[in-house]
Symmetry: C2
Subunit: 147 residues, 2 copies
């Protein structure tokens, strides 16, 4: 997904503080990683990349959950039984949101599809139509490579 340039350290700190989270080193490392990831990232990937920098797995976990609770990131299971984390759109709209995800059954690759790729037919049951109640769309199948 498009990205509005690499955020500065101050940008990251601000984003954390705005969410009432302290800007600690491991937290910043996690946040930076999420900013730079093109698709949702699993805890394992994150921990593996961050371990060399000396951050504890439990700390990475807690931070991921903190970011999720604070509404900065979102935690999903894309159908392969692995939690993945993805940054949510921030105030200046530089991050995307609401796009469908596609997970390959074969290789496990996760990709983001453009918004609008999937249309939900309105059904008139209940006060809110289905479309308005949906917060996330996930498709599974074979990616082009594995086709």
């Amino acid at each position: 997904m498009a990205r509005a340039g690499k955020p500065s350290l101050d940008d990251l700190k601000t984003r954390l503080r705005d969410a009432d989270l302290r800007a600690t080193a491991p937290r910043l490392a996690v946040l930076r990683f999420l900013y730079e990831a093109p698709t949702p990232v699993s805890h394992a990937e994150l921990a593996d990349k961050l371990a060399p920098e000396g951050w504890d797995r439990a700390t990475v976990y807690r931070n991921l959950n903190d970011l999720t609770d604070a509404g900065i990131a979102r935690k999903t299971d894309l159908g392969d039984h692995v939690w993945r984390f993805e940054l949510l759109k921030d105030t200046d709209g530089s991050h995307t949101d609401a796009h469908p995800h596609f997970v390959c059954d074969e290789c496990g690759e996760v990709s983001c599809l453009p918004e609008g790729t999937v249309e939900i037919k309105s059904t008139r049951n209940g006060p809110l139509r289905l479309k308005e109640r949906v917060s996330e769309i996930q498709l599974k199948g074979r990616c082009e490579r594995c086709n």
Copy 2:
């Protein structure tokens, strides 16, 4: 989803044998349960219901996986990090397939949506269009009750 009447014990046995699985008591119990479940069932739900009948958790698990491997059932993670199993359409078409699933973020309830509720816009990338590569569609959000 619609069901073509309660299957007889012999129906169940036949379905297993056709798949080269022995018709053992716990296997039949699991299969019957899946037939009667209106939506995908988690292992825990199944084990809890079948435990009183004396079936072991591990056995239930293995059977669920056997049925999946045999193509009788399908195993999915609907986004909440819980494996759920669902019967696939059998030869006489009495079971459904290919319908989207909706999982409530709030209460965790899983429901099946009618086929056609979700439309995938064709994108012209690759030899097969996206639509043709998708095997499953999952929506998440608030169910009507939790709305």
